[in-house]
Amino acid sequence: MDLRPTPSEAAFRAELREWLATSLPTLPPKPPPHDWPARRAYDTGWQRTLFDAGYAGVDWPVEGGGRAASPVEQLIFKEELEQAHAPYVGVNFVGLLHAGPTVIAEGTPEQKARYLAPILRGDEVWCQGFSEPDAGSDLASLRTRAVRDGDEYVVTGSKIWTSHAEVADFCELLVRTGPEGSRHKGITWLIMPMDSPGIDIRPLQTIAGSTEFAELYLDEVRIPAANRVGAENDGWRVTMVTLSFERGTAFVGDLLEAVELLSQSVDLARRTGAWDDPGVRRQAGHLRAELDALAALTKRNVSQAARTGVPGIGGTVFKLAYTETRQRLGEFSLGLLDRCGLAATAPHPLDGGGPLPVGTMVEDWLRGISLSIAAGTSQIQRNIVAERILGLPKDPPAGDGER
């Protein structure tokens, strides 16, 4: 065990920090949170900036156009970006973390040539069409049907919770090509251009009042067979490649954001006088211990990934722990606002000082609720830990095909 950076890790951090210090001040102002076209432009603009500086796809292999940074360098990359308050990956998330890595691992040479570079440059945005109204946790029961017709697939069905669908150019789409009831043995992974005729996008409003995800109705959408990644009916295995990416180092930025939220909360507690309460201080101290431990667990998972080459099951353990801490932190910070935390707009503070961080804290509390649902619910994650780490017997009948 060694927590000290190697000379090359230290150099990577220093170079990155210097670049961030010069390039962040040139960034345009942040777009309003509900203006999705503006957000797309902002996020992809930042991706382009990263690309021009050679920092796009640090975690991607060289043959995919990436930098093939070691897992430790990926950790450093995310730490430095978050600490410098660089923009979040935003709408580029699916392309950079799911679709791109899947195409790299499973795509044909033509697919790699066509799709990878535009993701890295921020030219094209992807969304993820996995979940369906009747197939969430039990993803392998998905029913969106694809029928082969010449050199095309004709796709009919519906997808739900598709984040960033309105601003996406492509969708990584899971469809049923096998017979009904074939579960994970009859699924195929397709690249669906979002401007194909027959796609109806209906935005869904989240509990935060935003429209981050949508429902997709697919009515005889024609997708070229050349857009299939992996073999027909082998899409489940292809999908597992992406899902394991999602559970790797995906939360580094979020964790540092939580550290920032804790320090904002402490500032607020000092300002309101709540900090004089030993109970409040203890809660804050406890949250700090948890966040420190989560940072240590990240380092452990990253080190393991560096040795084994794959993000291990440690990511599942991390997600479970992180979710609980983050939700508790949300309660803590909102509690400090007392009844002023009951609206997302801040009332005038009586001390005449700057505005209260009400919006951030209400937003964070609401977003925290989705952590135990998105990317596999906490119940499903516990099943995974119990069955795959501890080897406890499967719970029939929902054994295979849980996300």
């Binding site: 065990m1 060694d2 927590l3 000290r4 950076p5 190697t6 890790e9 430790v72 804790l262 320090s263 402490v266 030993p278 201080r281 203890r282 809660q283 804050a284 101290g285 406890h286 700090r288 211990a289 948890e290 420190d292 431990a293 989560l294 940072a295 240590a296 667990l297 380092k299 452990r300 990253v302 080190s303 393991q304 560096a306 040795r307 440690g314 353990v317 479970l320 722990a321 119940q379 994650q381 516990r382 099943n383 830990v385 119990a386 069955e387 780490i389 501890l390 080897g391 406890l392 017997p393 499967k394 719970d395 029939p396």
Partner: protein, 329 residues
């Protein structure tokens, strides 16, 4: 950076695990339950011969010259083996008190009650393993002193919570010979908290292991209880608590060894806090998985819950630790 255990560390852990299982299996340990002498001195010497107490003593002084992180890996195994005795105190004393490193002198640790401290006004000092100690070190707050355990006026307590940790109530700790100053006392508290955290991680792990074994064997409704989600989720949460606490304890100990990577006091305080919680919660959860069996004296799972309760009182309370962490915010 490489935060995985090295091959040497894994071997070290394996060796100690084998020693515990071979030399101190639970059924043997349990023969001394509720006696005033629960430590098998021959086995204690074997632990010493394996280097358990002298791990961080420099090689020039006859030790192994390893780091506190290596010690944490080993202490996790001692925790998982439910090895009784003042392991941490004897480790801290090695290199300073003659005979501690080789196991011939068993050293205990007590904290002198501080008069001004809220909540302790009428409570006497409770000392562990007093009858079998060779030396008692007292943390006076501003330094350490050395006391002859035979000179301590104490009343043994019947029915100690952990049947393998005998306790005595000491109304008045005698003044001892000065052993070390404030800085050394602070180092003992920090390193001691890190290693006690490692013992707790071991207990948390063991509690989970026995729960999983039981959940695999015990059948109800025609299937193993481990196939029920309510049971699975209890077990999964045990894994999460153990892994988080282990990462924190290793980071804490390693930050002591490599002070340039962070604030060691902070890392250790957080680690002990989470390790205590993991051991306490896993002890309870494991009993729950065992059902009525878990509430019997015979099934050993209660020993983990009880030892965890004892160790959670070492080197300050959870409230102290959380408050100290908040002070740095």
């Amino acid at each position: 950076m490489d935060f995985e255990l090295s091959d040497e560390q894994r071997e070290l852990a394996d060796g100690i695990r084998r020693l515990c299982l071979g030399r101190l299996p639970l059924e043997v340990l349990r023969r001394n339950e509720r006696t005033s002498r629960t430590v098998d001195r021959a086995a204690w010497s074997e632990l010493a011969a394996a280097g358990v107490f002298a791990m961080t003593v420099p090689e020039s002084a006859g030790g192994l010259g390893l780091g506190l992180a290596d010690a944490a890996v080993v202490f996790e195994e001692l925790g998982a083996g439910l090895v009784p005795g003042p392991l941490v105190a004897t480790f801290l004393a090695a290199g300073r008190i003659e005979g501690a490193a080789d196991g011939s002198v068993m050293v205990g640790l007590a904290t002198r009650p501080r008069p001004g401290r809220p909540g302790t006004g009428v409570l006497p000092c409770i000392v562990e393993h007093l009858a079998e100690l060779d030396v008692l070190v007292v943390d006076d707050g501003d330094g350490l002193s050395r006391v002859d355990p035979r000179a301590v006026d104490a009343a043994p307590l019947e029915r100690p919570l952990d049947p393998l940790t005998p306790l005595s109530a000491v109304p008045e700790l005698p003044a001892g010979e000065p052993l070390a100053g404030a800085a050394e006392a602070a180092r003992w508290r920090r390193d001691g908290a890190a290693l006690t955290g490692a013992l707790q991680v071991g207990l948390a792990r063991w509690a989970c292991e026995v729960a999983v074994d039981y959940a695999t064997q015990r059948h109800q409704f025609g299937r193993p209880i481990g196939s029920f989600q309510a049971v699975k989720h209890l077990c999964a949460d045990m894994v999460v608590r153990t892994e988080l606490a282990r990462a924190a304890v290793h980071a804490g100990a390693l930050t002591v060894d490599q002070p340039d990577v962070g604030d060691a006091d902070r890392a250790v305080a957080g680690a002990k806090l989470l390790a205590d919680e993991a051991a306490l919660a896993n002890g309870r959860a494991s009993i729950q998985v065992h059902g009525g069996m878990g509430f019997t004296w015979e099934v050993p799972v209660h020993l983990a819950a009880k030892r965890a309760r004892v160790l959670a009182t070492h080197f300050g309370t959870a409230a102290d630790r959380a408050a100290a962490l908040a002070d740095g915010l």
